[in-house]
Symmetry: D2
Subunit: 436 residues, 4 copies
């Protein structure tokens, strides 16, 4: 028996590229083997609970547009929401979901009541996971919506807010472990500032470092074997968010000696807001050894706020999966859609259609990326381009056997006069277009 | 005897706020004591050689607009340029200047010839410094204009380009030391990429780390006692520049163990291009212990390229100097104008007028900042805002004596329910307006 | 007897520049004569009802932070809100306020009920206006918050939404007239699109033209003597808003023959979001003969959404009022603060302090602008710069007495070879700094 | 006999989607019929002379990277350049090219000499056109590179600059007519301002209107039957360019009564810099009846300057050609590549490869667009969405038979309460992905 929210929805099946059935996959064929792995195991899709089931469709200029029977702000609504959510996970046949505490249960009158409510829903989740086989990609705590967090959670001027946030994270790690979550994510939604005039940036940085260290220690202590992830974002809601981008998070982790304990969950939309391409953030995280997971929701390049749209531009996605494959693919991470329906997409069916479109686009991107990698045309060019660094002198420089003077002496003695070679950007872009 | 370029220019003098003489200072009064120091010692103004004397006024859509008698691309021109430059330094009565190798001498046919030409000009500079008392704030090497650097200097796929750049930096550190430079700056103009398709980001990062380590070692070895500075910039000329912003540079320094050896030279315009306020970059660098020097040239907030304009918005500048004063002021660093005349500002006088306006605006900013700091209204508010962290429990958390469980237990036991307090942003902004 | 919301607030008085009283004006001295007019008559300040009294402090990542006794969503709350609002208008001694229908009354179950509720509040307003002397700068209709408008009001694919919006505007014009409003404003909050894929841009443009024509006709018919204003904004909430900027609105008005009937209400923040300086939009509107009124709330240049901050940068504001004074100043228009408290500014006092700071900054800007204009240094330069156009030949060209061939013939015959002259931008910027 | 610049280049042929030959077309098959027309006749490709043959590879931080034998600044170089250009046009088998006066001949000592040099090259072009069958899509005058234009051409404060520019345009229209050009383009490279402080915006607008009117009159008089086009751009080189975007140009044309005389040449990169999608600008121009031609070169969304890259994102291009096809396709216009090689793309082959990739991507985009249009799924949805406007009441409103009161009366009488319907954005985006 179902809730009926999606009507008599049938499980979404792969029908091939020629299908025009809006409720079928055209490219995502979970058992198809791509680059040596089943697509499902490569992509590790997850649905985000909050945007799909808790967001009412508001924006800064208008309120709720969605009408969902579970928008009741009580536990009955929360239970109905869980039913509908797992119906959708099953219908889509996705292996994973993600959640915040605040989107699965109504806020209680006290910390204890909120926790108790979360526990009740988590028990439901545990049972449903068992029934459906759907697993938890990651859990997280919402430390930004409630007014107590308006000036930050870990970085709040009030240590009691820090404490409240810490207690919340402890509980969320607990339930994530209980549900077998593959990762635990921290997004510093209010860890940032509105104006330096009322902010002690250095102090707040120390607070944030302490908070993260405590969370990492706790996760270890209780034997949580998932990955701890930070999700970078440059701004919005605050004028300046501390976890600006991958490079910034790396410096922060290094400062507090956490670079081997914590990785990053990279969102395409956040990369764009930070002025980077998504593939830049992925490649950088891989180079720094902190690549973890992705939120595959795009931003409009021309809108300066977080638009959280379902992805659909296959050529861009192919470049993203190309970096992911080069980095060895996901281990504990996966492809989460932290994506909102457009607020005019009112129908239950729109929820399914949006995920199907996003998953299909990811599948196309992955397949294109796999072919790029297998053909080796792109990587071969890059290897050749840097090949002179494989010379004895190149290696001597890189390994620290040459001083500035050594090198300068050689330049003068040999009258070194390097000649530039074409970077072949247009040709490389054309090559990419062979695959997408 | 002068070159006559500036006509019969008289030294620019302080005439007070009511002066309408375009060639007088209205606020910069070098011997006036502000916050316990002479203004000259606080601000440590420097003129940038390249923009003021070597830039022809071109932009991507048009060529040279300035007609300077020294635009001859030979050593006679270079000598005339040096004469005019020191005439301007003297006329403005600035204590410092800065230069790249490429803007003081024409490129030679070989590394050796270029170096010899630089040496000749450096001898002239040394003599002129002695005659005039003007000093060198920093020297640097231009590793971006020549086509050999089109794919990077330290991060080039060709190790010979790395070598050429290394030899150049060695020579520039040598001459900077010879001229008693207070700092040596590295700006990675082409250290970045145009497309990831032809780039090995990880490799390039290693190359950059090696290059910087070699430069630091060399400077130490020869006893250069100035500060080594990196100048962050996010993009332009390349699509992605590695030294994106202060946070990124910090992570890079940490990775290569150089965070105690190298500091940052922060440009207002580059901060803006990176999506930050100038004061953010200053406060962050101070918090991370890597604040060094500034380039006080603004960007147009609405133009997405480097506009390098002379600064003139006093309220913004006051906030910048407020952060600098809070950080203890400059040690080896100073206030450089890496600013271009607008390309329509053709007259010799425009060069003087632009610097005078910029210096006056800095002086106003500094004086306002000093008063803000002395009055203590702003800092008092911030201290009070965080004062609860000074409690025993707050300190216990910060010093690592509390685990996540400890804190969670207290939240539950005490039913902690923190209440938000006003952040008073508008009042703080009004307070700032008392001083500017 | 007061509501007590503001405590025992006293009317805010002018105390002069040295005052540190946060509840006093330091520059706004309403009876002081500037450029031949009382400051109050120049600036014509208005408080915006919605942001100050109806906005709960939410943003896309968090809910209500403000706790106001009138947030009850019933008519009792609406009446209390009106009381508090007029207490604030009186305390601030502002001559004007502005409102939308939706921020003064709770939405009813039907159009008729909503209208009746509005009428009730309008009667209260009328009485309070009489008691206090505060007047209505403009009224407007909220055609964007309710879900019925999610796909536009005038530009909705459903003509019934157009009709509902039209009925709403009719009623709002009626009550604006009743209250003696000096203007009526249309902001096309949802007049735009999210995706061209579901949009017939041409059709929607026709609908918008029709709607505006009907509103203009109606206002004339009932003898509304105020000005009809459109408020341009480029994006947000929708991806593309039709009333993008002043130039776009002008083209729209010309297409429908309304350029003599409708003027613009220009917001600084919207100008910035459109990539323009505020003064550009002002100067352009003046040149096109459609300048009407302003919303003097700034955007953060680095935040890509509408930040609606109280203004505080005096040099920028001086340039804005300089354009306004050059355009002859306000007639029916004025200086509205469509500004939100930061969501952390929780206190009642913050509302007062924010307006006081904004008004003082405007007053300083106005006074600086008046001096710039009186001294004539800036305008004198501009006149001289174009003076050659006053020659016989210049006038002949401009008046259409020369063809392209005439002019070409002269260029060849006289070997015309024009020489560029310095644009003196830095000097002009320094001149501005004399006044601010 | 060829110049040998491209080696023994063979004409580029269509080889089909599976080809990996970098010098073959994979999708552009000129004689293939798409939507009832040969692809060549649909796309009307043109190569831009300036970027391909005259641009040296410089950027604001570095000089020439390309080494071309014709970079000699004399007429011999200009003739060699023409030979190479037509060799490339022929090799690519493009039907059209475009040029500015300044990129085909070196500047002379006087207007007369410059004109004579242009005439000489035009004679060569005429002969080559005859020999090769390649035609001129449009000619234009460069009114922005020379220092005489630093403060504008038509909008210059000096009427002699206006005159010089007018004489230049006259001559360029003459030679465009002589060469049978299908269009004449005006891009206002310096028609804008750097600072309002030295600018009389209203005056400059009048000058621009006069200039355009004179050009239109002259073109008519001499019987030029091509289309006069304005190319919008928002900023760069100047802070504010007058021809900001399509909407702005429309308002300008309306003001001077030229909306039936002049159309727009829309560049994707300029659309992006103005904050618009390319398809927005196309759809708007079509709606306003001023769509003319396109420059199909993209901008990097994250670089705030004009990057002029060859296009390669097929899904984006499909949406652009979809708007073009809906507008009826090109008449005199075409698809010009106003695109620069990346400055590291040094090889002769890169020029060919870049154009081939761009043309192939256009061909894919066109074919996808044609299928979208033929299938009618997208347009069917839109028609249905607005279908209620086809009711009697909808038509009565649109045709002006209803007043605001009429409509309001009906809303009240019928208790109109419109219910929103899903906008189906995600489904529509999925539908687009069926075709690309």
């Amino acid at each position: 028996m179902t809730t009926g929210f999606f009507g008599d929805v049938q499980p979404v099946r792969f029908e091939g590229a020629d299908s025009t059935n809006p409720l079928a996959y055209r490219f995502y064929n979970k058992d198809e083997v791509v680059a040596g792995k089943r697509m499902e195991d490569h992509l590790r899709f997850a649905v985000a609970y909050w945007h799909s089931f808790a967001w009412p469709g508001g924006d800064p200029f208008g309120g709720q547009t969605f009408e969902r029977p579970w928008f009741t702000d009580d536990m009955a609504g929360a239970r109905l929401k869980a039913d509908v959510a797992f119906e959708m996970f099953t219908a889509l046949d996705v292996p994973f979901y993600c959640f915040h505490d605040a989107d699965v249960r109504p806020e209680g009158q006290s910390f204890t009541e909120s926790a108790r409510r979360l526990d009740e829903i988590v028990d439901i989740f545990a049972r449903k996971q068992e029934e459906t086989g759907v697993q938890l990609l990651w859990g997280t705590a919402n430390l930004f919506s409630h007014r107590r967090y308006m000036a930050g959670a870990a970085t709040n001027p009030d240590p009691d807010v820090f404490a409240y946030a810490a207690a919340t994270v402890k509980h969320c790690i607990d339930v994530t472990k209980k549900l077998g979550g593959a990762n635990y994510v921290l997004w510093g939604g209010r860890e940032g500032y509105e104006t330096l005039l009322n902010t002690d940036l250095k102090r707040e940085r120390q607070q944030a470092g302490r908070f993260l260290s405590m969370a990492v220690d706790y996760a270890k202590k209780i034997g949580f074997t998932g990955t701890i992830l930070i999700e970078p974002k440059p701004q919005e809601p605050t004028k300046h968010q501390y976890d600006y981008d991958v490079a910034t998070v790396y410096g922060f982790l290094k400062e507090f000696g956490l670079e081997n304990e914590v990785k990053v969950n990279i969102e395409q939309g956040h990369a764009i807001l930070a002025g980077h391409s998504f593939e830049h953030e992925l490649a950088l995280a891989a180079a720094l050894g902190i690549f973890g997971s992705i939120d595959m929701n795009r931003n409009d390049y021309q809108s300066g706020w977080d638009t959280d749209q379902f992805p659909n531009n296959v050529p861009e996605m192919a470049l993203a999966y190309y970096e992911i494959l080069k980095a060895g693919g996901f281990t504990t991470g996966g492809t989460n859609f932290d994506a909102k329906l457009r607020r005019q997409s009112l129908d239950a069916e729109d929820l399914l259609v949006a995920h199907i479109g996003g998953m299909d686009a990811c599948a196309r991107g992955l397949k294109a990326a796999a072919r790029m990698l297998e053909d080796g045309v792109l990587s071969g060019f890059v290897e050749e381009r840097y090949s002179r660094w494989n010379s004895a002198e190149g290696q001597a420089i890189l390994s620290g056997q040459r001083t500035l003077e050594d090198v300068a002496r050689r330049v003068i003695k040999d009258a070194v006069d390097p000649q530039p070679r074409s970077g072949k950007q247009e040709w490389l872009e054309n090559v990419v277009n062979r695959y997408v």
